[in-house]
């Protein structure tokens, strides 16, 4: 392996700047007592990491360990945007809950850096490091409200099950290495795909990553962890790690390895189970945060439908690959909507996150028209109504599924969309058609804080923009082939 050169550094500039700013924040903490100051530094860090991608040139670094291409460019932008919005949304939350901002922001940035590594990794051990970076930061973030039992429970559960999943992943890497003699994705892609040992290794990897994206039957931890974690952290969980892990899954299974019935059925079954587990679970939730957690599982299921389409398209070797674009577009649209929705939930929860039941949202349409309208928009996008990003997300996935003759999967997804419609609409109905019956709203529920309002506005604008003119983003995604590039 050659010594690290400037070019190599170039390839990981985003991750580097996120890490540097994380460290800077921790160092600043003793000196800078001003919360807003720290938020400001963190915001600059998140934005700068993303902006460095514009000076980076495409290519591989560190002897092929990481690859910087359109695919990773897309994910770095998405992850940077998520980190930016989450930090902005956390500002008022941390103040309300009396939590320490510096470590929080540092952890968010470290987690983002880890996800960035995941998105551009070309080698399994590098990916493992990225996964660990993001996971360990996430465990701490989940338990950041130390005085809350739920938060501690959340961290504990996430840590135990997460470590378990990581072990699967690592074991899978070991077996894959045993089967192919390499941990580089392009070498694995070239290996004979029907070897049993390789298949076993990849299955273990799929299980490990399945935990991280909350695919059923590995989704059990999700509702508890999402509910217990501080809400801005939940926003991060539902958007960032999910997107980054899906990126890695696409890199691994978007290769010739996937071109077998075996993987096709694996993804088919995962997709169906995940959709139903998420939607049926969400149906019976009275707690809004928990409902959104279950819905997040369902959306992972929709994304997996695109994966099943990827595997068939590869099998049929049928021209362009719209399924990648569909998966990426869906991830982006859901990530934004999810951050927006959780931000509103975080603001409305009040001190200690006590006001999260459906009843607490009753009459929101008259009490807080802006928050209610924005939350409705996000719910409509999750539901897939037109002029929102979610609509085109669903449309592209439908299109990919039907193009690969996965009619049943498309129909099952359609049925799930209708189930989803019920619980999303129920919340809209509660907000607009019921009257608030509880005690006088507690402090902190008066209205969105300016920073949260900014987050919500940005997320809403992008959601509508993608819902009207999806082409600008999608064109970028479809024209490129975000595959493992052999060199």
């Amino acid at each position: 392996m050659s010594p690290v050169s400037l070019v190599d550094i170039h390839r990981v500039l985003p991750e580097l700047s996120w890490c540097v700013f994380g460290v800077v924040l921790m160092l600043l903490q003793p000196f800078l007592k001003n919360r807003q100051g720290l938020t400001f530094v963190a915001l600059i860090g998140a934005a700068l990491g993303t902006l460095t991608t514009s000076v980076a040139a495409y290519g591989s670094g560190f002897g092929g360990l990481v690859q910087f291409d359109t695919f990773s460019l897309f994910f770095h932008w998405l992850l940077g945007l998520i980190a930016f919005l989450v930090i902005l949304a956390s500002d008022s939350y941390l103040e309300r809950e009396g939590l320490d901002p510096a470590e929080f922001y540092a952890l968010v940035l470290f987690a983002t850096a880890g996800m960035g590594v995941l998105a551009s990794a070309q080698e399994l051990l590098t990916a493992f490091i990225g996964l660990e970076m993001s996971s360990i930061s996430s465990y701490v973030l989940a338990g950041y409200r130390r005085d809350s039992i739920k938060s501690s429970e959340s961290a504990m559960k996430y840590f135990l099950l997460g470590s378990f999943a990581t072990a699967f992943f690592l074991y899978g890497i070991a077996i894959v290495y045993g089967a192919t003699g390499s941990t580089y994705l392009n070498k694995i892609a070239d290996a004979e795909p029907s070897g049993n040992l390789l298949r076993l290794g990849l299955t273990l990897i799929l299980i490990g990553l399945g935990f991280k994206v909350a695919a059923a039957p590995f989704q059990i931890w999700t509702p508890d962890v999402y509910e217990g974690a501080p809400t801005p952290v939940t926003a991060l969980f539902s958007a960032g790690p999910k997107a980054a892990t899906f990126a890695l899954l696409l890199r691994i299974f978007g290769t010739s390895q996937a071109a077998t019935d075996y993987w096709f059925w694996a993804f088919w079954i995962l997709a169906v189970l995940t959709m139903f587990a998420g939607n049926l679970g969400a149906l019976v939730q009275g707690n809004v945060k928990r409902m959104l957690a279950y819905s997040s599982i369902a959306h992972a299921g929709y994304t997996l439908v695109a994966f099943a389409a990827v595997t068939t398209l590869k099998r049929n070797s049928d021209g362009p690959v719209p399924a990648y674009g569909a998966a990426l577009f869906y991830l982006a649209s859901y990530a934004l909507v999810s951050v927006g929705a959780f931000t509103i939930v975080s603001e409305l929860g009040g001190k200690g996150e006590r006001h999260l039941t459906q009843e607490d949202f009753a009459g929101l349409g008259t009490r807080q028209p802006f928050a209610a309208a924005a939350l409705s928009l996000f719910l409509f996008s999750m539901l897939g109504l037109p002029i929102t990003a979610g609509f085109f997300g669903k449309l592209y996935i439908f299109n990919a599924a039907i193009k690969s003759n996965l009619l049943w999967l498309a129909v099952l997804m359609a049925i799930n969309s209708v189930i989803g419609a019920y619980y999303y609409l129920r919340l809209v109905v509660v907000m607009y058609m019921y009257d608030y019956k509880g005690p006088a709203p507690a402090e902190g529920t008066e209205g969105l804080s300016p920073t949260a309002a900014m987050v919500v506005t940005v997320a809403a604008l992008i959601t509508v923009y993608l819902g009207l003119l999806p082409n600008h983003v999608l064109g970028l995604l479809i024209s490129q082939n975000p595959m493992v590039t052999s060199r």
Binding site: I402, V411, V418, Y432, M433, L469, L474, G475
Partner: protein, 525 residues
């Protein structure tokens, strides 16, 4: 005028702009909001009348077409057009909206601004559905329309409004999401969302689907439309939605929304899936006839006046579906006519029932009786509208039902014979209800003091009565405009059936030709 080239765009988005303008008004300025909404909807109505001159008489095809690219991949275009069938449905929509504003003048007391914004947004969706010539655009408006309607029912409705609103949305969405799958499938088979292009491909045989595929696609579309119509046994959302909706909501729902379903059948199911339509026709006809008789029988025993009118819609729309699936020119014309006539007369019935509710806050027939004594003018209007709804000659309902039965009789006399029962039953339930509400002694003391129609109400009813009469005696003013498009729909179906028997095509050729065809079209643009 620059506007003339974009009259359809104007028609779709003017109410949206109007809704934005209303948002600027102060919440307290109730009169200003109502007047503003009324002015906007009247301007919209007048603008829609301009379309009458644009649609050529005697030749099928779309006029005032607008086309621009919207999304490159998948190729979604902003393609609008109007023909004789959609023309009157658009005008019906724009005609009923100002009446809805007037009907809510005293009936809607809270969140007045939001109410009128929702009403105008609803108009955007409905007009968009009727004018879209791109499958995708059509679907988009179809979905967009859902939310304002759900809000109209759920916020300004009666006691069980929320249940009714959610039920309405879920039913419609269950149908439409399958239609979306169908649309996407069709897109993958043809490479385009453009309706005229696909129609042409079906007609010329460039697109020949296997029988099973065609049937599945037909069902995906038909299911969505049948829920909307609603066809028996998918009608159960309708009584709830109607009874719980505010008067304006019921008028729009019965007047126009149900017609989106039958319009969809004429515009999409028949020309795009001709063989499947032929094969499904007997089943559909049976369901339609069951709907006609069942709706009428249930209406007969309803103690609730508004529910009675709601079930009469199930019955009347059964006629429309029967007329469509009899596949004769006369019955199809009758179906289109019945759509319009039902829009006017059932809209008027809901308006009248709503007026009673404004006064007594109940729909129970037993609460009324002898109303013709305190409210003679109201009773006269009610009788007139009821007679038109049951199909008295010289009034609008007669023309549609007569044409449908005549056209159906020519091909399936049994269908017509069963359906004719519905005509008799409709006379039974309407006249019986009329007798119980208006004749005899005044049975409740409260009813003695009821006010007769106010000038505002009277003018609405006079206008509706005038249209009812005009459609009854001047029916050719309408039919001559949609006769040719109806004929064209049938031509597209039959020619395809004949040609398919003559020249079987190989799958490879089909695919190749389909691709050629679509590229040609793109190039020609």
């Amino acid at each position: 005028m620059a506007l003339t080239g974009h009259i359809l765009t104007f028609l779709i988005f003017f109410p949206a702009l109007g809704a934005l303008a209303l948002l600027v008004l102060r919440k307290e300025d109730e009169r200003g909001i109502r007047l503003g909404a009324f002015a906007i909807s009247v301007v919209e109505f007048l603008a829609s009348l301009l379309l009458v001159g644009k649609v050529a008489i005697g030749t099928p095809g779309y006029s005032s077409e607008e086309f621009s690219r919207w999304i490159a991949s998948p190729a979604i275009n902003y393609h609008l057009g109007v023909d004789g069938i959609s023309l009157f449905l658009v005008i019906l929509t724009t005609f009923l909206t100002p009446i809805c504003v007037l009907a809510s003048w005293h009936g809607v007391h809270h969140r007045i601004k939001e109410f009128h914004v929702a009403l105008l947004l609803l108009e955007v969706g409905i007009v968009g559905v009727f004018l879209s010539l791109d499958l995708f655009l059509f679907f988009l408006f179809w979905e967009v329309m859902l939310i304002p309607m759900a809000f109209l029912i759920g916020i300004w409705g009666h006691d069980r409004r929320i249940y009714a609103a959610v039920k309405f949305v879920l039913y419609t969405m269950a149908g439409s999401i399958l239609m979306l799958v169908g649309i996407v499938w069709l897109y993958n088979a043809t490479g385009t969302f453009d309706l005229p292009t696909i129609q042409k491909m079906v007609q010329t045989g460039a697109l020949l689907l296997p029988a099973r595929t065609e049937m599945i696609l037909f069902l995906a579309f038909f299911f969505a439309f049948a829920i909307k119509v609603p066809l028996f046994p998918l009608h159960t959302w309708l009584p709830d939605a109607h009874v719980e909706a505010p008067t304006a909501g019921s008028i729009i729902l019965a007047g126009v929304l149900l017609k989106m379903g039958t319009y969809g059948m004429i515009r999409f199911c028949l020309p795009l899936f001709p063989d499947a339509s032929h094969r499904a026709a007997p089943w559909v006809a049976v369901l339609a006839i069951i709907g006609i008789i069942y709706g009428a029988l249930v209406a007969l025993v309803q103690p609730n006046l508004k529910k009675l009118v709601a079930y009469s819609s199930v019955s009347h729309l059964g006629f429309v579906v029967l007329g469509i699936f009899a596949f004769t020119n006369i019955s199809l014309q009758g179906a289109v006519y019945q759509m319009l006539a039902h829009g006017i007369s059932t809209g008027a019935l809901f308006l009248l029932v709503g007026m009673l509710y404004d006064r007594r806050h109940t729909f129970e027939i037993s609460e009324y009786g002898g109303l013709s004594t305190p409210m003679p003018q109201y009773a006269a209007f009610f009788l007139f509208v009821a007679l038109s709804s049951m199909g008295l000659p010289m009034l609008n309902g007669f023309v549609g039902e007569y044409l449908i039965l005549l056209g159906t009789y020519q091909v399936h006399w049994k269908w017509a014979a069963w359906a004719a029962l519905g005509v008799i039953l409709s006379a039974c339930y309407l006249l019986w209800a009329y007798q119980r509400v208006f004749y005899g002694e005044v049975t409740h003391e409260k009813n003695r003091e009821l006010q007769d129609v106010s000038p505002r109400e009277k003018w609405m009813l006079i206008v509706l009565a005038f249209v009812t009469l005009w459609m009854g005696i001047g029916s050719t003013d309408f039919t001559r405009r949609f006769a040719a498009p109806c004929e064209a729909v049938l031509q597209q179906m039959n020619r395809n059936v004949m040609r398919e028997v003559a020249v079987p095509t190989l799958p490879e050729q089909k695919a190749g030709r389909a691709a050629e065809n679509s590229t040609e079209r793109v190039a020609s643009r």
